[in-house]
Symmetry: C2
Subunit: 337 residues, 2 copies
């Protein structure tokens, strides 16, 4: 018999909630019979959305949650006070083992705090990093950490490298993934205090395939599979990736519309261009896992549409099937001895 | 009588030295009669390059320097030992007042070290930041600091904001330039320890027009004129800008070549696209000044071609004419009292 993966989905989180979240959920359970989803949020709102669809009802259960944590709320306070919020209730489903995983497009801060406080860390893990996949020339790389735990220590970064390697090898299927640390030059003696302290730890770790420093310029080339950095830097990289991409594509569209000649050309290149740019669109790759927790917590982009929600839900199946947390546990405890 | 601005140009620095450096120098002195260039480097090599051109000879003087500092050399040692290198000799011309400014496409490390050790800081300036202009949707923004002095303090960042404002107002001509600090969220309480400490200093400084935090995603939109950050983060932003841009343009070209239809379209959009992308090309804006020194030191991109060298040389004229260093001196000393 096939194992069923149980996933709690925060129906109220994100810019397009609940419509796109519910739609993505329906797409996911229609696509995969080995998934059961708990849709967590305001029951009457969810029911109204669901009324539009036909779907396998045995694979979906509504869990009522009357409160919603807003993006602007201070996360620690929100998690503590809003016990009946969709995020807190979904987290509790993971904690109790009723759900294997949680997917939310809601407040990053609340998800990061809730993950640590409610779901809890795997023994030995010092900090759970948020690790999105970013598109590159060759495919995808894992950028670890992009969370809200800034000012990390070298020992945290070493753990990020190990957890990221387990993820890339087992979820994405890259054998012996190449690990690099974000730096401002290729030489070992370059960098800030944190990088200089972390570099030898990575170099001497037998569990990872460390290839040295990577300059930001080379990240989009895809030369490293796991890109290790402190969360402030990771956040800057992730968001600049989006920003430069969007601005440049806007500029190109503007250029194409500037003359009759170029407008005709634009019509001809459009289909081919759309296909190429799709491969450089981060939303194709689902959400970012918060690694190192007792259960899987996936943060999807706040502006997620149904496709991204569906991809994030399906991503949880591989994570469960591959026993990622068991592998992280072994990897981290090796280090502890 | 017109004032002549005297500029020392490092003929030996950069990937395309000496050919493109000499070519750019010739273009600059042909364009502007108010410039005199000292071409610093191996005399016989420079003479051979110059033999190809006709130019106003009174505006150019060769200064012989027998050594060259390579990019890979440890900068402190190189500056100390290679007294007869083109960088050290050019720096000494600025120090002695024989030249007002220096332009080099050579080793960043050597330029940063030489700037501080040989040219020296303006009294009161704690750290000279490297501040390149980056292209945005609206024009250009100044990214300050992208140098090699990582792990900055809050007081350094405050000075960067002030010096950057003077530069944008007087050299680029933006009235009351908007200053923002790179952060991982828009709220004041977000950020790492350095940002949290710097934020109130910027907020309470009457000399600058502080608009708050800027997320990396919004940098390419051009909402801030002066973007303040610590050098490690600045370096990541600068290089990722280049990397994402180059990768995306590569992807687009690839997409355009994928079918006969799109190839025909590509021919039609090409001229318009070339024009648009030019406005997003950092090399159009000359080099990055190292601010806060007793003289102007400009670092141009290592891969600079003649046009960028020429722009960097001409940029020095405005800097001198506007008395930027005098204004920085006043601005910083206000702060000291």
């Amino acid at each position: 018999m096939q194992d069923i993966v149980k996933i709690a989905v925060d129906a109220m989180g994100g810019d397009n909630a609940p419509t796109e979240i519910v739609k993505g959920t329906i797409q996911a359970i229609k696509k995969r019979q080995d998934i059961k989803v708990f849709l967590v949020g305001k029951e009457e709102v969810i029911k109204k959305e669901l009324a539009q669809y036909e779907y396998p009802e045995g694979q979906l259960e509504i869990v009522n949650a009357k409160e919603v944590i807003e993006t602007a709320e201070p996360p620690v306070m929100a998690i503590r006070r809003k016990k009946d919020s969709s995020i807190v209730k979904a987290m509790n489903l993971v904690k109790s083992g009723e759900a294997d995983a949680l997917v939310s497009a809601g407040s990053s801060g609340a998800i990061l705090v809730g993950g640590q406080v409610i779901v809890g860390r795997i023994k030995g893990v010092e900090r759970p990093p948020l690790a999105p996949l970013i598109p590159t020339k060759k495919g995808v790389s894992l950028l670890i950490d992009c969370g809200a735990n800034v000012d990390a220590r070298a020992s945290h970064l070493l753990q990020f490298a190990k957890m990221g390697s387990v993820y890339m090898e087992n979820v994405i299927g890259i054998k012996n993934p190449k690990v690099a640390i974000v730096n401002i030059g290729a030489e070992e003696e370059k960098g800030n205090a944190l990088v200089k302290e972390t570099f030898p730890l990575l170099k001497n770790s037998p569990e990872i395939n460390f290839i040295g420093s990577i300059e930001a310029r080379d990240i989009p080339s895809g030369d490293a599979d796991v890109i290790v950095c402190e969360a402030f830097v990771g956040n800057v990289i992730l968001k600049l990736y989006e920003g430069v991409g969007a601005t440049l594509i806007g500029k190109i569209k503007e250029g194409m519309m500037s003359s009759l000649r170029s407008k005709i050309g634009a019509l001809l290149v459009k289909p081919a261009l759309k296909e190429t740019l799709k491969s450089f669109d981060a939303s194709q790759y689902g959400g970012a896992p918060l690694l190192g927790l007792n259960g899987l917590v996936v943060k999807t982009h706040g502006s997620s549409k149904a496709t991204e929600v569906m991809n994030s839900i399906i991503q949880c199946v591989t994570f469960k099937e591959q026993n990622i947390n068991e592998k992280i546990k072994q990897n981290i405890s090796l280090n502890e001895e």
